[in-house]
């Protein structure tokens, strides 16, 4: 078994408010190997962004890690009362943000911005080496004329080029892990497809581990080896992409899939009634219970244990959909269309 690039163990992140404590991420286990692409999907407020922010130490001041640990390349960088993520930020972990046109500084040329990252993480790199590396990374991003792009301001580039530059910024320092936080959301579908292809290539060539956060289930299906379905700060289901998409165990995964528009399926698109819960520290039971068609009193009584295989493939539900993994489960529930 290869060593993990990123290991998240029982992570719990809380936000202290004036009168209450909100649980943003709870009991999250995730193990990411080099060259692996994991998709993190879930609706807004499910804790995806908090998870990403915690890995690079950019949580708000009132948000803290209450339990668990994060290891990057075997080294612990995050634990309660301990945050050394600054040392991996930009170095071992590169981050691509949502909107490329806004994640580049409008008044600096691309060259200056790339050089900035190189200077910070590759100390003592010579000027010509830096130039060479910037050109290489841009070419890897399928930019044909790196020289022109390096000398351009962000507004002089097209949306797709800007996104490539934003990814180049994240990978120029050769990180082991790349976090992509909804970085394709603002792109049109063709550019999206190109970016996805780019990521796939990056992972294949450089062996980086990619965490791809998105709310686009189909995109995740296309790109990722495994997906984590998050809900209310917890992993509702983790598993190989094919398995989760074709055979979801958690009713929430099934609900998400049913809400995906499809031109081939008949009938209306089914959304999930209600909205994500506000999870305070007093919350017990299944976070999805109030919106779940299969919920029983048991669901609300106690914390739901992790079932199924292991932390690489399993779900958090006591009434799972597919009888294969849980023979005692009640039949029925919403049908699943993929």
């Amino acid at each position: 078994m290869t060593a993990s690039a990123l290991q998240i163990e029982d992570l719990r992140i809380e936000a202290r408010l004036a009168d209450d404590t909100l649980v943003l991420v709870d009991g999250l286990d995730l193990d990411l190997r080099p060259g692996e692409i994991v998709g993190v999907v879930g609706e807004s407020g499910s804790g995806k962004t908090t998870l990403v922010r915690s890995l690079i130490g950019l949580l708000d001041k009132n948000v803290t890690v209450a339990r668990g640990a994060v290891r990057v390349g075997g080294e612990q960088v995050l634990a309660p009362g301990r945050d050394t993520t600054a040392s991996v930020r930009g170095g071992a972990i590169g981050t691509v943000f949502q909107d490329a046109s806004r994640s580049l500084n409008p008044v600096l040329k691309v060259r200056a911005q790339l050089r900035e990252v190189l200077k910070a993480h590759k100390r003592g790199i010579s000027k010509s080496e830096a130039e060479e590396r910037m050109r290489t990374v841009l070419r890897r991003m399928q930019i044909d004329d790196p020289e022109r792009v390096l000398g351009s301001y962000p507004h002089q580039l097209s949306g797709g080029q800007r996104q490539r530059v934003a990814i180049a910024l994240a990978v120029v320092s050769e990180p082991q892990i790349v976090l992509a936080d909804e970085c394709t959301t603002a792109l049109d579908v063709t550019t999206q497809a190109e970016v996805v292809a780019l990521f796939r290539e990056l992972v294949a060539e450089l062996g980086v581990a990619l965490v791809f956060v998105t709310h686009d289930l189909l995109l995740a299906a296309d790109l990722c080896d495994r997906v984590v379905v998050m809900y209310g700060g917890q992993a509702a289901e983790i598993g190989p992409t094919r398995r989760v998409l074709l055979e979801p165990h958690h009713p929430y995964s099934a609900g998400l899939l049913a809400a995906v528009p499809s031109w081939s399926a008949d009938g209306p698109i089914r959304g999930i009634e209600g909205s994500a819960p506000r999870v305070t520290s007093a919350f017990t039971g299944c976070r999805f219970a109030d919106r779940c068609p299969r919920a029983t009193d048991d669901c609300r009584a106690a914390p739901i244990p992790w079932s199924g295989g292991d932390e690489r493939d399993g779900y958090r539900c006591i009434h799972p959909l597919s009888p294969a993994h849980a023979p005692g489960a009640s039949p029925g529930g919403p049908p699943v269309t993929v």
Binding site: G91, F97, L108, A120, Y153
Partner: protein, 305 residues
């Protein structure tokens, strides 16, 4: 595009050498014609003030001719072209004094701006980026500063330290930083919430780097406008203080001081105060109009993206 940017940048640097705008900050919008038409006459006046006294074509501004006191300008009865704008009560050539005095006035305008804008910008950046208690402390200082009447501060310092160019510059620094810091702080708070700042933090850039290398260039427009307006303010303050005999002391010459010295003989020789006043008015007006033109040039609504 490139040529526009270059020439605009050159004009701006000519007016406010303290803050060289980055070419990127000026890329937006059309070529600013108004800016050009205001910067040109200003540059012309600055050039005259700078070069003409050195050429030796004007009489010595300090040379007294007690037999030629209070001569009127050439277009009035008794005036002559040997003293085109007349003489003052000690028979000194008014044109020569105005041109020479303009040097100190311009110097005060520019240096007075630098000493106000540079600390004001840095303090504003610090407060706006750091937030928290730093911001609270700085904001209270700004408010306290803005609440103090300017003349009071000037009087207190000058009464204590005497009047000299250095003291005048200190007064300008002490009174000018606060409005600048306030605006820069607000702008910094807006820029720091933009996504590229988050990206920079995620890329491991230090706060100092983010602020100086990334936030500051985004504020170029604001700072250039602030600086321009401050030039006008500094010149006016100098004139006001000189008028109160708290500013530039003889034998140094400034426009405010000429204006003040003409006051005593206003009924016999109106031209002394008038010409000095016109010079101050024209320059301050040009500078302020230039500031307004730059302001609309940097208006976010006119930005291209």
């Amino acid at each position: 595009m490139a040529t526009t940017t270059d020439s605009t940048a050159a004009e701006l640097t000519a007016v406010t050498p303290a803050i060289a705008p980055s070419p990127g900050a000026l890329r937006r919008g059309r070529r600013p014609r108004a800016v050009l038409w205001l910067a040109l006459p200003l540059a012309f006046i600055a050039l005259i003030v700078l070069i003409v006294p050195a050429l030796g074509i004007l009489p010595d501004p300090h040379r007294q001719h007690l037999d030629e006191t209070l001569l009127p300008p050439f277009f009035l009865d008794g005036g002559s072209m040997s003293h085109p704008l007349g003489t003052d009560k000690l028979g000194r050539d008014l044109l020569s004094r105005l041109v020479t005095g303009g040097r100190l006035t311009f110097l005060i305008g520019i240096v007075g701006t630098i000493v106000a804008i540079v600390p004001g910008t840095l303090i504003g950046l610090l407060a706006g980026y750091k937030r928290g208690w730093v911001d609270t402390v700085v904001s209270r200082f700004i408010e306290a500063q803005l609440a103090l009447p300017f003349v009071l501060i000037a009087l207190a310092i000058i009464a204590n330290r005497g009047s000299s160019l250095g003291v005048l510059i200190v007064v300008l620094a002490l009174t000018g930083w606060a409005p600048c810091a306030r605006v820069v702080r607000a702008e910094t708070m807006a820029v720091r919430e933009r996504q590229f700042v988050l990206g920079l933090r995620a890329a491991g850039a230090s706060s100092a780097r983010i602020v100086l290398r990334h936030v500051l260039p985004n504020l170029t427009g604001v700072i250039v406008v602030l600086a321009t307006l401050q030039v006008g303010t500094a010149i006016l303050i100098e004139s006001a203080l000189s008028f109160l005999n708290l500013g530039i002391q003889p034998p140094d010459i400034s426009w405010g001081q000429i204006l003040a010295s003409g006051r005593e003989v206003l009924t016999q020789a109106w031209w002394i105060s008038t010409f000095a006043g016109v010079a101050i008015t024209v320059v301050v007006l040009l500078v302020n109009l230039l500031g307004d033109a730059l302001l609309s040039h940097y208006d976010p609504k006119k930005r291209k993206f």
